[in-house]
């Protein structure tokens, strides 16, 4: 059914976005310090999972460099701000430019690769990044990373506590909005076509290489922006945060939630990030084992991801047989 007022239709996503932001940011003001901290880190994982879902789930690129770009963003903003003393907006722009440069440097040669080989290249990049961080001397701070800095004042204000959580909430909503918008555009359809059958996509006029490069660069830059925001969560950056094991956890989040579905990425990130916090007080150090069993069970029993459960319930409610 078409609306009589086209402005109303256009305003709807904006109102939805504003509503989501108010709810996500507002929740932080009702939490204590601990819950706020966990919530901030959870929202950042959600942002990363959304970006990675677009790369892996929508565009079909198996890459393990997402956390390296998260790290490039985090380290670059700190280095540009506190070692090169650039003003904040310029430091942010330089950080994004660095992410774009690195992403293109990886993505363009990688267009010759696919599947398993792209995974290997990005895995190597992820490990190389950690080596660079550890061996980076005074620039990266070595194994201890960089600490002893604070978010600069912006217009005389220094955002902290729940106010900084609101910044992260804004990042989540903006990331979601950008990716959903892209997914529903011709570019999103091109990405899915490339994922499902690159030859057929090329025959239909899709520039496969360009689509892959754009998707890789865009999601890597989103991860980099997430990293810039992360850098001021605890005011410290160090190598273990950006380790390769977190890249695997991100992959699990997307698969468990439902690859190719934005809501699935959110579900997967929330569940897998919070599970150890819930399980640890209940089963002590066995939480790692229970965590593993639950993840395997979710993949075996629900191959479409946990979002598949929602689909079935929704289909039954609507009365349609299945998707």
């Amino acid at each position: 059914m078409k609306s009589e007022n086209p402005l109303a239709l256009r305003a709807t996503p904006l109102i939805r976005g504003a509503g989501a932001f108010i709810v996500l940011a507002g929740a932080a003001f009702f939490m204590g310090d601990y819950h706020n901290d966990v919530y901030r880190k959870l929202l950042l994982w959600v942002t990363l999972a959304l970006g990675y879902n677009f790369l892996f789930g929508v565009c079909g690129q198996v890459a393990f460099s997402h956390f390296a770009f998260y790290g490039i963003g985090a380290y670059s903003i700190v280095i540009f701000l506190f070692q090169l003393h650039l003003p904040f907006p310029l430091a942010a722009i330089c950080g994004i430019a660095l992410c774009i440069a690195f992403a293109l440097a990886v993505a363009i040669p990688s267009t010759r690769l696919e599947g398993f080989y792209l995974a290997l290249v990005t895995l190597a990049l992820g490990q190389l990044f950690i080596v660079v961080l550890n061996e980076g001397g005074t620039v990266t701070g070595g194994t201890g990373g960089i600490a002893n800095y604070r978010l600069p004042e912006i217009y005389g204000l220094r955002l902290r506590g729940p106010w900084y959580t609101a910044v992260i909430a804004l990042l989540v909503v903006a990331t979601y909005a950008v990716l959903v918008r892209l997914d529903r555009s011709w570019f999103g359809r091109a990405c899915r076509a490339v994922r499902d059958n690159p030859e057929a996509a090329a025959a239909m006029g899709v520039d496969v290489a360009r689509t892959k490069v754009i998707a890789f660069t865009l999601t890597s830059v989103l991860a980099g922006i997430g990293g810039m925001v992360y850098a001021f969560v605890d005011n410290t950056v160090n190598p273990p945060i950006f380790g390769i094991e977190n890249a695997f956890l991100l992959l699990f989040m997307v698969i468990v939630g439902g690859a190719g579905r934005h809501a699935g990425a959110v579900i997967g990130a929330v569940l897998l990030f919070l599970l150890p916090f819930w399980l640890s007080p209940l089963v002590g150090h066995h939480h790692a084992l229970v965590f593993g069993v639950l993840v395997v069970a979710a993949i075996l029993l629900e191959p479409r991801g946990l979002i598949g459960i929602y689909d079935r319930v929704a289909d039954r409610y609507k009365g349609s047989p299945s998707r």
Binding site: T143, A147, D234
Partner: protein, 375 residues
Amino acid sequence: MKLVAMLAAALIAVAAQAQDTIKIGVITDRVGVSKPYSEPATEGMVFGANEINKKGGVLGRRLELLVEDDQSKPDVSAALARKLIDQGAVFILSVSLSPATQQQQTVTMEAKTPQMTPMNSADYLTTQLDNPYFWQTGPLGSVQIATLLAHAKKQNLKRVALITDNSDLGQAIGKAFRGGLEKAAMQVVDEEVVPLGATSATPQMQKIRAANPDAMFVAGVVTATNVLIFKAYRELGLKFPIHASYNLSVPIYMTAAKGLVNGITFVDAYDPDKPEVKAFEATYRKETGKEPANLHGYGYDGIMLVAEAIKKAGSTDKEKIRAAMQSLTYGGVMGAKGMKYHFPEGKRTGFDPNGMVVRVYEGDRQGRVVHVGQQ
């Protein structure tokens, strides 16, 4: 009515008892990469807290340990520090990964809550952040290397070989060893790396044999890789002495490298002949029925130092505890005979730079001390 009154009285009693405890937060690692170090240290802490409580606690109140598992994830670790502070911990003890301890500091500094690591060895923990609420009593990495090199210098070594693994820490220690050896005018005639996941270290050891060194330094920190190195050393019938990093002080080598470690010297912070160690080991065995090791000693000393600081402060006021901790002098289980932890001139590293020892494996057991300090 009587029942209600009894229940209310019981509830009040429980609440009063809960209030009466002094809460100490412990951030450990039960599943991550630090688990082999963190778990024994935590057990030592629990044992120490029980011992203190049996003697009446501190300031007439029991110590209550709130133990959290950070999985060696620095971001999770910082969140748990906030949780412990929210739960009323007046002091936090950190026995997880060094970067995790560092990230906790950003929270304890902001919340002005005393924090100490009795075990971490990273030098940067007290230099990167000017956090007056943080102390480190684990021996610094630089002190460990200097102690081992001081011992090596006495052997009049000229040509040495260096072997490590390709883990981040193994590479970092290897780099520090190389720098120290060159500074001590010892020529590194061969340097080998055994990659993680290798099934043999024989090729690397053959190259070292060909270089004919006076001694070999092992900087690796991965047990499986080090066992391969020692196995190849035995199989090739090599005779030059082996000097190893503090990683060889982890008790697992006594079982995992059976028949392979005799004669290897390694740096440690634990002297089995020290009277305090003998008393600690005897009580630990009696109370738990288990064999204690050096790692238990780190945790034990940690909780004892905290108890001493609170006692000296005469209060659980965090600012008073901070002041008391900074002026504390305490002789514990760890360190060479007579070593005392103290924090002179506002320093926050409490382990005496001459307090480390070099020990030797006698058979499969970690044996006697053969060298003390950096001289």
